[in-house]
C-alpha cells in the first residue's frame, strides 16, 4: 500500500505525465477529426462509384474512436518506460530501495500505478477521439454509433489496452534502463519495425498467422478496430485474434519484459 502511494506521488510530482497527456490528446484529437471529416465526407462519393473499396458505414465510428489507441498507444508506453529509466538515470533507485528494500514490491507498485495512469491516458485519448470525432461524423451525415452498446464496449477495451501498454512500458524500462536507449527502442519499434512487419506479414497467410501476435496487432485485436487493420482490405483478409486473446497476448508481452528486467537490471548493485 505504502509503495503504491509512493509511486503515485513520484509520477504526479514531475511534469512529464501531463506534458505527454497534452500531446496525446492533441495528436489523437487531430487524427480522429481528420478521419471523421475525410471519410465522413468521402463516404457518399465512394458509395456512388461502384469500383471503389467500400467502407461499411458501421465501421467508421469504431475506426475514428479507436485512434485513441491506434496512434495513442505509444504515449502510455513511453510514460511507463520513463517511470523506470528515470530512476536509473537520476539514481533515485537509491532512496527508493532504502525506503523499500524489497525490490519486487517496488516494481509491482510501479506497474499498478502506471497501469492506472495508462487507463487515464486511455480515457483522455477517447475523450479526444470521441469528442471531436462524433460531432464531425454527425455533421457529415454519418451515424455516431454512440447509441450502440458495442461502441461503448470498444471504448472500455481501449482503456484496458492503454493500461496494458503502460505496463509493457514499465517492463521495457526495467529491461533497458538506459533512458535514451529505451525511448529509441520504443519509437523505432512502434513507428517503423512493427508497421513494416505487420504489412509484410499480411502478404502471405502463414506470416499473417504469426503477424497477428505482434504487440500492435494484438492491441488492435483487443480494441476491436483500428485504422491499420481496416486499411488492409483487398489483399489477404487480415487475420486477427479474438479481443480477449489480444488482451492476453499484450499482457504476455508485459509479463515477459518485466520478468526479464526483474531478473537482470532490477537485481543489480546500485552504485
Amino acid at each position: 500500500m505504502r509503495a503504491i502511494a509512493s509511486e503515485a506521488r513520484k509520477l504526479l510530482s514531475v511534469r512529464l505525465w501531463w506534458i505527454l497527456l497534452i500531446i496525446l490528446v492533441a495528436y489523437v484529437g487531430f487524427t480522429a477529426a481528420l478521419l471523421a471529416g475525410l471519410f465522413g465526407a468521402l463516404g457518399d462519393q465512394l458509395a456512388s462509384s461502384p469500383g471503389a473499396p467500400q467502407l461499411p458505414v458501421e465501421t467508421l465510428p469504431p475506426i475514428v474512436y479507436s485512434t485513441a489507441t491506434a496512434v495513442g498507444y505509444v504515449f502510455p508506453l513511453i510514460l511507463g518506460a520513463l517511470a523506470v529509466t528515470s530512476e536509473f538515470r537520476y539514481q533515485t533507485l537509491t532512496p527508493t530501495f532504502l525506503a523499500q528494500p524489497r525490490r519486487g514490491v517496488v516494481l509491482a507498485a510501479k506497474g499498478l500505478v502506471l497501469a492506472l495512469a495508462g487507463a487515464v491516458f486511455g480515457i483522455a485519448g477517447l475523450a479526444a477521439s470521441v469528442g471531436l470525432g462524433a460531432p464531425l461524423l454527425a455533421l457529415t451525415g454519418n451515424a455516431t454509433g454512440l447509441d450502440d452498446p458495442d461502441t461503448w464496449l470498444l471504448l472500455a477495451r481501449a482503456v484496458l489496452a492503454m493500461a496494458l501498454w503502460a505496463l509493457i512500458g514499465v517492463g521495457l524500462g526495467t529491461l533497458i534502463p538506459n533512458q535514451v536507449g529505451s525511448i529509441v527502442v520504443v519509437l523505432a519499434f512502434t513507428q517503423f519495425v512493427e508497421p513494416i512487419l505487420r504489412f509484410g506479414a499480411s502478404i502471405w497467410d502463414w506470416t499473417a498467422e504469426v503477424g497477428k501476435f505482434l504487440p500492435g496487432a494484438a492491441s488492435d485485436a483487443l480494441v476491436g478496430s483500428s485504422i491499420f487493420t481496416s486499411s488492409g482490405t483487398g489483399t489477404t483478409a487480415v487475420q486477427s485474434l479474438e479481443w480477449w486473446q489480444g488482451g492476453l497476448v499484450l499482457l504476455g508481452y508485459g509479463a515477459i519484459v518485466t520478468v526479464a528486467g526483474l531478473a537482470t537490471t532490477w537485481r543489480r548493485d546500485v552504485t
Binding site: 509512493s6 506521488r9 514531475v14 537520476y90 539514481q91 533515485t92 532512496p95 527508493t96 525506503a99
Partner: protein, 298 residues
C-alpha cells in the same frame, strides 16, 4: 534520548568489482552514543562499504548488520536507519518537499515529518523549488533531511561535508555531536580528516579497501613517526624492525612508526649503535592520516 541503541557490525565484508577489490575483508563495529568517522582517500571503498551495509550492493562475502539484522530485513528501515549517500540522488524536476513526500509515503510517515525535517535543515524557504536548481550545499541539506525523516536511531552519512561552506561544516559538526549525545549511532564518512576531526569520537581509516587504523584520535596522534640515523644505518634499521615497528630506510635516515624516540635511543645504546640523529617527526593529524593511507597506496 533514544532507548536501547543499535550497534552496526561489519564482519569480514568484501566486495570485488571484476578485478578490483574495492573492499577487502573489513571487520569493525560502530557503537551508539558516539560519532564514528569512516575515513579514507577517494576510491578507498567507503561508499561501497556503506552501500553494502544498506543492502544496495551485494557483498562478495561477509556481512554488515544493525544489531545482527541486515538492512533488508529491518521491519521499518527508514525508522531505524537514516541515510544520506554521497551521490545524493534526486529527480531534478521534483521539488524538495515532493521528494521527501515520496519517501515519507513509502515509509508510511506523516507529511508533518516532511515539514519538520525541512525546518531542521533550513530548507523550508526553498522547499517548493525544483531540486535541479539547488546548489551542492542545498542538496547536502536535502540529503540530510531525507536521513532524518523517520527519526532513526542510526545515521549513516557519506561525505556529508562535501560542498558545505565553513559555516555549514560547523553546523554539521554540532548536528552530529547532538545526535550522538541523544544516544544515536552515527557513522560518517569523509576523505578529509580535518572536516570531521572535531566531531568524531572514533575513527576507522581504510585505504584500498583495507582497514589501516581503528581507534580514537589520540591513538592516531601517538603513531607519529621517529626519524633516526647512524653510520650503521642498515643495522639500526634491522634493530628497530625487530621490535615490530614499521621501518623505512631513506637517504635522510631511518623512519619508524609505532615506536617512541626514547625506545629507539635505548635500543641503539643496547646494540652499541652510535646515533647521529634522533628526532620525533612532529606530524599533524592530517599528516599521520596521509602517511597511513599513502603508505598503503604506495
Amino acid at each position: 534520548m533514544v532507548s536501547g541503541g543499535t550497534t552496526i557490525e561489519f564482519r569480514g565484508i568484501t566486495k570485488t568489482f571484476g578485478a578490483v577489490r574495492a573492499v577487502d575483508d573489513l571487520t569493525f563495529s560502530v557503537q551508539p552514543g558516539q560519532v564514528t568517522g569512516f575515513l579514507g582517500p577517494n576510491g578507498a571503498g567507503k561508499t561501497t562499504t556503506l552501500r553494502m551495509l544498506l543492502g544496495l550492493v551485494r557483498p562478495t562475502s561477509g556481512s554488515a548488520t544493525f544489531g545482527g539484522v541486515a538492512y533488508a530485513q529491518l521491519p521499518d528501515p527508514l525508522r531505524t536507519v537514516g541515510t544520506a549517500l554521497e551521490a545524493s540522488s534526486f529527480h531534478p524536476g521534483r521539488s524538495a518537499r515532493n521528494h521527501l513526500r515520496v519517501y515519507a509515503a513509502a515509509a508510511g510517515l506523516p507529511s508533518s515529518r516532511v515539514e519538520f525535517v525541512l525546518g531542521v535543515v533550513g530548507l523550508l524557504p526553498y522547499a517548493d523549488r525544483r531540486v535541479g536548481g539547488y546548489s551542492l550545499g542545498m542538496r547536502q541539506r536535502l540529503g540530510l533531511a531525507s536521513a532524518l525523516l523517520g527519526d532513526p536511531a542510526v545515521l549513516v552519512l557519506d561525505e556529508p561535508t562535501n560542498g558545505l561552506d565553513p559555516e555549514g561544516i560547523r553546523w554539521m559538526r554540532g548536528f552530529l555531536r547532538d545526535r550522538a549525545a541523544e544516544g544515536r549511532t552515527v557513522l560518517v564518512s569523509s576523505h578529509v580528516l580535518s572536516e570531521v576531526q572535531q566531531s568524531v569520537d572514533r575513527v576507522v581509516i581504510i585505504s584500498r579497501g583495507r582497514a589501516v587504523y581503528e581507534g580514537d584520535l589520540d591513538g592516531l596522534e601517538a603513531s607519529a613517526t621517529v626519524r633516526a640515523d647512524s653510520a650503521e644505518r642498515a643495522r639500526l634499521a634491522s634493530a628497530i624492525a625487530l621490535t615490530g615497528a614499521a621501518v623505512t630506510t631513506t637517504d635522510a635516515g631511518v623512519i619508524a612508526t609505532g615506536i617512541t624516540t626514547e625506545e629507539v635511543g635505548r635500543l641503539a645504546l643496547d646494540a652499541g649503535i652510535a646515533l647521529t640523529l634522533l628526532t620525533e617527526e612532529r606530524a599533524g593529524l592530517e599528516d599521520v592520516f596521509l602517511e597511513l593511507v599513502g603508505g598503503e597506496a604506495a
